[in-house]
């Protein structure tokens, strides 16, 4: 493979990394703070993509306005879901898991009924390429890396610097202790759902500028999100970042070297091995 082709696939991989990190950060927030496995997270991401599509194609908004509106809309949806579907089952992870399975069916079919099953596309506002040392980097992929990094820094500062962020950290570490200290678990769970679903919506909105979107696109995102969390360890933000970066690069580069199926096989087999030999993730601890 030539150096140019390699650098292209590395860049594709970095763009995928950005998407995976956003999905995994949202999922790890929701899972560690609410103590549930939210398998409808992929559908949240899908709805984010459709919200952006409708903002651009139907309401004629700009791309960034569409992303912001979609993030707020999907974040609000997340708060609603937390209140109606997950709060009644706090402390009962099995039942909450089944509810989120039901949500997969409902959300997929709501979108299917509204938008139809055909794949849809919308253009990225970034068309040009940036040339650095003779390597052409397309802006529409670079912007994903930049936005991903930006959101990551924001999330990190939010958790480090605000009381709510510190409360989230506390609850993910020791739920009952945090409740005893007077932290409002209801409110923090709602905030976690808002942030987690919002991050998924951003990821969905950006993926639509690279690939076509469809009502069943969520299961791919869920698989990748879970894989990243397993790599990095549940509840660990640095873990999600490193795991997402690795998985994105592998998914960007390996298909260019072999076939997409083999690349997928290598990815899943690796995750299975990691799960078996280090269930707490590469960087996680017991």
């Amino acid at each position: 493979m030539s150096a140019g082709a390699l650098s292209q696939s590395v860049l594709n991989g970095l763009a995928l990394s950005g998407i995976y990190i956003l999905i995994a950060l949202g999922l790890t927030l929701v899972m560690s703070i609410m103590g549930i496995v939210q398998v409808a997270h992929g559908e949240i991401y899908m709805i984010g993509a459709y919200a952006v599509y409708y903002m651009i194609a139907v309401l004629g908004g700009g791309f960034f306005l569409a992303i912001v509106v979609a993030t707020l809309f999907v974040g609000g949806l997340g708060v609603l879901l937390e209140r109606l579907c997950f709060r009644p089952f706090r402390g009962q992870p099995d039942r909450a898991f089944t509810v989120s399975i039901a949500l997969i069916l409902i959300l997929q079919n709501v979108v299917l009924a509204i938008a139809g099953g055909n794949p849809l596309t919308y253009p990225s506002p970034f068309t040009g390429v940036l040339r650095i040392l003779g390597v052409a980097i397309s802006w529409k992929r670079l912007i994903i890396v930049l936005v991903g990094l930006g959101l990551l820094v924001c999330l990190f500062l939010f958790i480090k610097l605000t009381r709510t962020g510190q409360a989230m950290l506390a609850i993910s570490q020791e739920r009952e202790g945090a409740a005893l200290q007077g932290m409002n678990i209801d409110r923090i769970s709602a905030v976690a759902m808002f942030l987690g679903c919002g991050l998924a919506a951003v990821a969905g909105g950006f993926i639509g500028s690279l690939f076509s979107i469809s009502p069943t696109m969520g299961s791919f995102a869920l698989m990748k999100g879970i894989a990243v969390i397993i790599l990095g360890g549940l509840g660990s933000i640095p873990g999600a970042v490193v795991g997402g970066a690795i998985l994105g690069l592998v998914d960007g580069v390996l298909p260019a070297l072999t076939t997409t199926h083999i690349a997928g096989l290598v990815g899943f087999a690796t995750i299975i091995f990691i799960l078996i030999f280090r269930p707490q993730g590469i960087w996680g601890h017991d």
């Binding site: 089944t98 079919n109 299975i272 078996i276 269930p279």
Partner: protein, 322 residues
């Protein structure tokens, strides 16, 4: 009571093709019986306290095993179909030992990934599996002829109906026997108190693997049946969503009782056909039923009689205390 009910149900199922001659009705019933076996075998795995989401993957393994044995190795269907079950069981046994070390949801996750690996392998190994397009024109089962008594050549759906019925009854009898045996008791013990069972010398890992192996056997068996029934197989025939539906049958039916998954699979497959004008809304109804069950009857449909009894305590006299 239960036995009389089962006998009546079996008699009805035997006679049903005389009343329902439309191929579509028979097709729905054949699918229902497949789902009954799948849901009941999934419940056996759940009985050991771990939720497998590898059933779709195991069906794919079984379907390809049977197809390839018949089409490439010249095996008769009647040998290939049981081997389909055994191949899935063998794979479950091998991957079971590392998998069951994972607790709770992590076991479920690794089984999802296992199914993905099966799908990707089938897609990649084009020389053997036909890749993405899969394999078409899978032959029907070879005819069964007992002179003057029985003649089944599987050219009609009725013959497949009776084959599916026999498969279902045999599977249910085996699953019931396993559950009522010592093994079933131990599995329940493992489900309720993993560490306690281990502390009194029960090989919990071994029994979890056993449940996973036996449950997967039936998934492979049904996969083997299904590909010959519809005469085609493709890598993504039994997707993640397919497995989720099987899980929904178990949950809605109620996994505490043996009859639960049977009820769940039967009602949730036949109801959409009865309510055909609402077919476009079916996934919503499906999800609504699921959510209603989780919220209001966590023990599922099989738990409804108990629930009714609890809600109407006066209708029943309390047994006198000894």
């Amino acid at each position: 009571m239960g036995r009389i009910f089962a006998a009546v149900a079996i008699a009805c199922l035997l006679l049903l093709p005389l009343l329902l001659t439309g191929p579509y009705h028979l097709h729905v019933l054949i699918l229902t019986m497949m789902y009954v076996v799948l849901a009941s075998s999934l419940r056996l795995i759940n009985l050991s306290g771990q939720m497998s989401l590898a059933h779709g993957g195991m069906m794919t393994v079984g379907a390809y095993t049977s197809t390839l044995l018949v089409m490439k190795a010249g095996f008769p269907f009647w040998v290939a179909m049981p081997l389909a079950g055994f191949s899935a069981a063998l794979i479950a046994y091998v991957v079971g030992y590392p998998f069951v070390r994972l607790k709770g949801i992590y076991f479920s996750i690794v089984t999802i990934f296992f199914s993905e690996v099966v799908v990707l392998t089938a897609q990649q190994w084009q020389g053997l599996t036909g890749g993405n397009t899969g394999i078409f024109g899978i032959p029907r089962p070879s005819p069964v002829v007992i002179p003057r008594i029985l003649r089944m050549d599987f050219s009609s759906k009725t013959d497949f109906y009776y084959l599916a019925l026999v498969l279902m009854l045999v599977s249910l009898i085996i699953l019931y026997a396993v559950e009522r045996s010592r093994i079933g008791l131990i599995l329940r013990g493992v489900q309720q108190a993993d560490s306690l069972a281990e502390s009194i010398g029960i090989d919990t890992t071994g029994f979890k693997v056993l449940a996973f192996t036996v449950g997967s056997f039936f998934a492979g068996l049904i996969g083997g049946f299904y590909c010959h029934y519809i005469s085609a197989i493709s890598p993504d025939a039994f997707s993640f969503l397919f497995t989720i539906y099987i899980l929904v049958y178990v949950t809605v039916g109620g996994e505490k009782k043996f009859v639960g998954p049977i009820l769940g699979a039967a009602v949730l497959t036949i109801l959409p056909e009865v309510a055909r004008p609402l077919k476009a809304f079916m996934p919503f109804l499906f999800a609504a039923v699921l959510i209603a069950v989780i919220f209001f009857v966590p023990e599922g449909m099989a738990g409804l009689p108990d629930l009714a009894r609890r809600l109407m305590p006066r209708s029943e006299k309390r047994p006198a205390r000894a």
